[in-house]
């Protein structure tokens, strides 16, 4: 069961197809991130002199240090992918002299 009942998905980008592409994009990010974790497990097993068989990967218990390192990697990954989003926020935080990014295309779209 994967579809929720209730009000339809809100309109975010002015085009529901674009919204759905973002959902696919973030799902792909999730899988890339999971591959990075799996690579990290390979590396940790190698440090212990072990071979990264599927069973060894499933049996690997991440230490608190492993968990923290991976979380930091994910945070950095998210920041890189969404750089253009944070660009706007950086300008907002810089104050009224920063240019109003994003408004040009949006105003054209709303016209």
């Amino acid at each position: 069961m994967r579809a929720a009942r209730g009000p339809k998905r809100p309109d975010y980008m002015g085009n529901p197809d674009l919204d759905r592409f973002m959902m696919m994009f973030t799902a792909l990010m999730s899988d890339v991130s999971a591959l990075r974790d799996r690579l990290d497990t390979h590396e940790q097993l190698a440090i212990e002199g072990k071979v990264a068989t599927p069973d060894a990967i499933e049996a690997f218990e991440a230490s608190p240090e492993d968990v923290a390192r991976r979380s930091a990697l994910r945070d950095a990954f998210l920041k890189r992918i969404f750089r253009v989003v944070f660009e706007d926020l950086e300008r907002a935080e810089r104050g009224p002299d920063g240019s109003v990014s994003g408004s040009d295309d949006a105003e054209a779209r709303n016209a």
Binding site: M1, R2, A3, A4, R5, G6, P7, R9, P10, Y12, M13, G14, D19, M22, M23, T26, A27, M29, S30, D31, S33, A34, D37, R38, T41, I57, E58, F60, V67, R70, S71, R74, D75, L78, F82, V84, V85, F86, D88, L89, R91, A92, E93, G95, P96, G98, V100, S101, G102, S103, D105, A106, E107, N110
Partner: protein, 378 residues
């Protein structure tokens, strides 16, 4: 923070755990940076631009939204938040579907239980529960996928953990611990012998009550059979004796005056006001003289339309249609209407939220809870 293992907590493969952790990081990004950032964008860009264009500041919640809509940051931040919300259930759901038969079997075969469990196949879920899946969680809290099903509860147990990226505690119990702890600290002579936790779900709040008052008989009710089955297996596995039953909190089968404390945590804000009023009236019926009704609070009332806009993200983006109703409800009046004396009303006063601290950004007041509310039957 990892979750405390118990008999019905879903397993994770290496990659399931990795994908679930990623959703947690995405939820954190949204909660602590993106959504608070919309307020900065509003104040420094959107509102001034709106004022230049119209000659006045946004005068209502619709105009606040209208002023922000041209912002790429605003639209994308919201979409990332919504994506994380949908991906959360999808990621955890895939993992649970794989092992559902096993989880159902474990819930059906609890060894040497100290507590009890009963479901009621004749109980129909209230209509409003079938109209909207709260939190966009597919199937809501109560849908049954088959006989002896626990899907919704397993999904919620794992899902809430990642939703709050661990901030709710290893047993998602921090809200329950804080709430029960406040009552015990402020009413040290109150020693309830029978406690009812309404809308007990997987038991996040029920277990803290039993642990704090170990001599009390503790009951949990939920309208969802999957929740009741799961909560029973979970509580037994964690060594806590609770009596769970599938019931609508508006009409239970317990006797008049049979409880010392009737409580709920994170229940009222997911229910329409008429149902909330019925629950209060039923609580009044169930309490003995001197018994206490005690609930968690909503958000404090919004200061103005801007504050309202920035504290209602979940209402409009994650299917929480009833939360506004509770926020606007005068609980003092509602308690009185349910039969409690006006002068028995008490509140903890506004409290800092236990989790999702970043949600309101720099406007810290908005991350507060309005505080616990209670009353005593004469």
């Amino acid at each position: 923070m990892t979750q405390t293992r118990h008999a019905v907590l879903p397993d994770q493969t290496h990659d399931e755990a990795a994908r679930e952790a990623f959703v947690g990081n995405m939820r954190k990004l949204f909660t602590e940076q993106l959504w608070p950032g919309t307020r900065d964008v509003y104040e420094t860009q959107a509102r001034p631009a709106f004022e230049r264009k119209t000659g006045h500041a946004p005068a209502n919640i619709r105009e606040v939204r209208e002023s922000l809509e041209p912002s790429f940051f605003y639209r994308t931040a919201n979409l990332i938040g919504r994506s994380a919300q949908e991906m959360l259930w999808d990621t955890v759901g895939e993992s649970i579907e794989r092992q559902l038969d096993d989880l159902n079997a474990k819930a059906a075969n609890v060894p040497a239980p100290q507590g009890t469990m009963r479901v009621n196949p004749d109980l129909e879920a209230p209509r409003y529960m079938d109209m909207v899946d709260i939190h966009v969680m597919p199937g809501n809290f109560h849908t049954e996928l088959g006989e002896g099903d626990v899907f919704a509860a397993a999904l919620y147990d794992r899902g809430v953990h990642h939703f709050a990226y661990g901030g709710m505690g290893p047993e998602n119990e921090f809200l329950g611990i804080a709430m029960s702890g406040w009552l015990k600290a402020n009413y040290p002579d109150f020693a309830p012998k029978r406690i009812l936790d309404m809308g007990s779900g997987p038991g996040f709040s029920t277990l803290p009550w039993k642990r704090l008052y170990p001599d009390a008989e503790v009951f949990g009710i939920d309208v969802s059979a999957p929740m009741v089955r799961y909560a029973h297996a979970r509580a037994e596995s964690l060594g806590v004796a609770v009596h769970y039953s599938q019931q609508d909190a508006a009409h239970t089968d317990f006797e008049d005056g049979s409880f010392d404390l009737v409580t709920s945590c994170l229940l009222t804000h997911e229910n329409p006001v008429p149902q909330i009023r019925r629950m209060f009236a039923e609580s009044n019926r169930l309490l003995r003289s001197g018994g206490m009704m005690f609930i968690d609070g909503a958000h404090p009332p919004a200061r103005d339309h801007e504050d309202e806009f920035f504290t209602t993200w979940f209402n409009y983006n994650a299917n929480e249609p009833f939360a506004t109703g509770l926020r606007k409800l005068d609980l003092k009046e509602a308690f009185a209407t349910a039969g409690f004396p006006t002068d028995a009303y008490f509140t903890s006063g506004a409290r800092e939220a236990v989790y999702l601290k970043g949600m309101a950004g720099k406007a810290k007041r908005s991350s507060a809870s309005a505080g616990y509310r209670g009353t005593i039957k004469p």
